[in-house]
Symmetry: C2
Subunit: 387 residues, 2 copies
């Protein structure tokens, strides 16, 4: 969607995003308190900050998912990653959320590594993409997924499992159907034109493999919504449940609340392998500040946490303690807390996270194969869906 | 190409085809006597009727293929079959010719079974197509290919071997590039749009697998020429030899010299499982006759073998003896041979062929797996290309 002040398409996010307008335009529902309370019933009263703080703020059929879950029906989560450039925090954090959902609901998580997509859409070789895919898989697994209930599907490696379904989907989509949604034109290569069908496979494949209609939950950045509306049509046409949508905001770039964190602009992103010094430097140099030009002015007027990148990062993820977050908010707003203090606090939070993350990554490295799609895994997991 | 009196595109053949015009339009070369003599040097002086009688009449780079072959370089043949309907004689005979080439030149033959294509382009289910594919593979193998040197690749079954290469090709073709050649428009499904890339894989895959630039010979009906011109561009762009083209006429339908034999019109085609009685009935009822309306008139004026379907069948394949063929020509033309006699002669020839074919098919049935793509086969065959 394109409005006067902002623009959100699957290809671009620009300007300050009005999520209220997006909800209206996309015809998606807000996750309200009632729904959050209902979720809490199944999570031991706990809510991930992403839900509590409205990072994932919109949905389609989440209520129906809970209806089914409460009747004993199992669902799975489908998410993915296109490996083209090094991952930054904005790429990783949604996986942390998905892991939380897996822990709470005991569900399978299917992760698609769309190496073919990145080869077809970017100026990269297959070898470059494959190398990146290996790095990305390791990063994703480092967040701590359950090896039994997590299945990684790499398009290049596992295409034989996916291709028939991709063709079935492709047969239901003509060039006109995908042109607008995916921004294609006559100069788009024919692999890219086919790719939407490959992307849609995992929203039906487990139902086909397990020979049972299984609900699929898809968390994604709201900018990807047009894809998943199409996905819902396709699932319905193929006789499967429409996937349940869980749409989130994007982690803003360091330079401020306009646009999302981007790998192609290294000064806007904190990468998973940035050293503590690099993180400190980036936050100090680039993190958009809601503070005043001078300390004196800041003490008098106070800062604006709502546009301050550090505060947003704390809110989005790095300060799970609500009371502490509120305290920081108040102190920054009143001028009691300086921008430099807020930055130092945030730097430490990010570096602590990254250090732990990297330790977990080292630990999981020898076990990557346990997570990759195999018939053996499928045969084991079939029992999850038996009632 | 579309002319006043006939039309030849990859989708349709209509009217009486002027092959001279096609050669000019497509920029392809006639296979002349000199080239035929050169081929005979390598076949023990023998020429398959398809070459001798101009059934395969045009080429690109066949001279270069012979240059390389004479220097000890090996080539392979790439051919294929889209399994959507029962095979008729017009589908089978090119494989008989390919088998002859394999016998004479000792070359590998790669046969693509484009089950995905037929699923994407026809109103059939994957199961229907797969069932047809099994039947077709058996029919193809019944012509007697060398099990060691023949590799069958079914797109659905072997996509994992092909997909990366298909994506590499796809990245070099945009919608505009394929639109005209393949007759696509905005209503074409996105699987069909991608399919040309899958179709082009086998003209480069063996070179990639064997890690050596290998010449590829592709025999095909002249109506498919636009595909293979595009294929030559792609091979060149990917750094491989352009495939060598060998273009043939089509086996005409029973109703006469306009159009080709078609599965969708059962009265125009003799199927491989037609009983001897069905063959006899079809020839008697539908085979377009070059004779006169009455026996008396035929005796006086004579018939026209050049437009007579039976005579054409004898010439195209079923009467390999040149002297005998000439005798029949003369006798029919003079009126000495009646249409009914010509038909009976042709019916016997076709039925003898089909009987022997079906015996061979029964014999090969338990051995189909020996012909299917496998890493083991590849590892064995690697030595063919070692110099």
């Amino acid at each position: 969607m394109v409005s006067e002040n902002f623009k959100v398409t699957p290809w671009e996010v620009e300007g300050e995003v009005d999520y209220g307008k997006l909800i209206e335009e996309f015809g998606i529902n807000v996750i309200d308190t009632k729904l959050l309370e209902r979720i809490k019933k199944h999570t031991g009263g706990e809510l991930h900050p992403y839900l509590e703080r409205g990072i994932f703020f919109a949905h389609r059929d989440l209520d129906k998912l809970l209806d089914a879950y409460e009747k004993g029906e199992k669902f799975y989560i489908y998410t993915g990653r296109g490996p083209s450039q090094d991952m930054h925090l904005g790429h990783l954090l949604p996986f942390v959320f998905v892991k939380w959902l897996q822990d709470k609901f005991g569900c399978e998580v299917w992760i698609q590594i769309s190496d073919d997509e990145k080869f077809l859409f970017k100026e990269k070789t297959i070898d470059q993409i494959k190398k990146q895919a290996e790095i990305d898989i390791l990063n994703i697994l480092a967040v701590g997924f359950d090896s039994e209930k997590t299945i990684i599907v790499s398009d290049f490696k596992h295409i034989s499992v996916m291709y028939e379904t991709a063709c079935e989907i492709a047969k239901k989509l003509n060039f006109s159907n995908v042109k607008a949604t995916f921004g294609f034109n006559n100069k788009t290569n024919i692999g890219a034109i086919f790719y939407p069908a490959v992307q849609m496979v995992l929203a039906v494949l487990p139902s086909k493999i397990y020979k049972k209609n299984i609900l699929c939950l898809i968390p994604y950045g709201i900018d990807q919504d047009p894809y998943f509306r199409l996905q819902r049509d396709i699932n319905e046409k193929m006789g499967f449940y429409k996937p349940v949508c869980l749409a989130g905001v994007f982690l803003p770039g360091l330079q401020g609340p306009t646009g999302k964190m981007s790998s192609s602009d290294s000064s806007s992103a904190i990468f998973l392998d940035d050293t503590p010094e690099e993180v400190a430097n980036k936050i100090k140099k680039y993190a958009f500040s809601g503070g005043q030009p001078t300390i004196e002015e800041h003490r008098i007027k106070g800062g604006n946490p709502d546009i301050d990148t550090c505060f947003q990062y704390l809110k989005l993820f790095f300060e799970p303690d609500n009371a502490k977050l509120q305290e920081i908010y108040n102190n920054y707003k009143s001028g009691k807390m300086l921008t430099s203090e807020l930055k130092i606090y945030t730097i430490k939070k990010i570096n602590d996270f990254l250090e732990k993350f990297r330790q977990q990554r080292e630990a999981i490295q020898p076990r990557v194969n346990e997570f990759l799609y195999s018939e053996e895994k499928i045969n084991k997991n079939r029992k999850i869906y038996e009632t």
